[in-house]
Symmetry: C2
Subunit: 265 residues, 2 copies
Amino acid sequence: MFIIGERINSTRPKIQAAILSRDADSIVNEAKSQFDAGAAILDVNCAMGLDKEADDMEWVIGVIQNALPAAGICIDSPNHFAIEKALEAYKGKGEVFINSITAEPERIGRILPLAVKYKANLIALVMDSGGMPKTRWERKAIAEKILDSVRRAAFEPARLYFDPLVRPISTEPEQAKEFLAAIGLIKELGGVKTICGLSNISFGLPKRSLVNSIFLSIAMSRGLDAAILDPLDKNIASTFLTTQTILGRDEHCKNYLTAFRQGRL
Amino acid sequence: MFIIGERINSTRPKIQAAILSRDADSIVNEAKSQFDAGAAILDVNCAMGLDKEADDMEWVIGVIQNALPAAGICIDSPNHFAIEKALEAYKGKGEVFINSITAEPERIGRILPLAVKYKANLIALVMDSGGMPKTRWERKAIAEKILDSVRRAAFEPARLYFDPLVRPISTEPEQAKEFLAAIGLIKELGGVKTICGLSNISFGLPKRSLVNSIFLSIAMSRGLDAAILDPLDKNIASTFLTTQTILGRDEHCKNYLTAFRQGRL
């Protein structure tokens, strides 16, 4: 189980301003603080709706790998030109993720060859042109369809991360259970992994960090392999750590006790 | 899913003193505050190692039902005389639990007839004379053995609550996973329920309430039916409430939003 830090996202005004003004220090600060908090991979989103996404992506990735060559990146873009430019730009030593494809053939056709060529990991949202799945079974069926396409392109299933799509409990209360059950069903497809963006679960509710962290913990216990989240949220970070300890992934509770001594719990 | 409040326990010095001095107000305060915090059933433990357990039990139960006739009780005793006296004493309108039997025939032989006679619910620890189970499968096997005895006595399985026995992660890190997996395996036996005392999980660690609450949340998502815990621990209470909401047991997030407005999250 690992964390992808979500904070370098141009929908945040601070990040948007840093990208527009080419303020490298702000980007480096966001990158370092997330990396130090345990996010070995950093999501990068520059999709501000302007024409310069590919250039912005190239610049941000250059800034990150210059300061933090060990950090992996997660290229978060709807634009395959920007994705390719980012893949070319990245020379760091970490893992690379493309975020994301869906079951839509056009998007798979454009992105999958890039993932193969650059040996990137690939995040696949379990949705198709019919929209969002409702049940665990619809989620599994879409994942199966994507897995078929990916196998035909000789892409390794071990680098495929399915996102079963979290929905807000405030408006779709039955969806959390379907999401959680889908984690196991999708993993039974064999060799593939699961990932999720966390924060959607609490959309529309107060105390979002409380809901996000409890949901994270339950999803981890079902076998979630990775999560895209804010590692600087103390609630979430301490929940992540404690859940790892409870699930037997922290020998002699070492990480837990260290975090306690450092005031991080 | 419901909560049994654990605070009226004579291993706590404050409770021990209240029992010894027949200080009814202190017992009523503990009962009311737990009941108001959502524990419809109150565990009562008077086993101070003195000879007066049966009398103490009778007195405490009298005090509780006098002040709070709606509160159920959970008679927590190793002593079948004390259990019987408690069952006789209770005239409240809540549910009654006997805490607890194991697979040991002598204990089953003494307690089961009381549970049948007084129509009490029965908590069964999944252990036998061989001691604590290690694996999920040992837990299931012991539960099966207990269920057999119970069925022969014409005791309804729906009133049987198995406790798969939480062990401290600090000393037995692999046991939490076995416990969690055992919840589902035991419930597959059909018609029976599961329960656990929570706090053992964090024995020997700092920030116990953090560990307890995350473990509660994961166990709830696996189908745990009841938990014996401290409902006045804000961390645990808010985790319980939020997990119910996440698991789709809180229509329109009503309880969650009310708790937020009342500052209980």
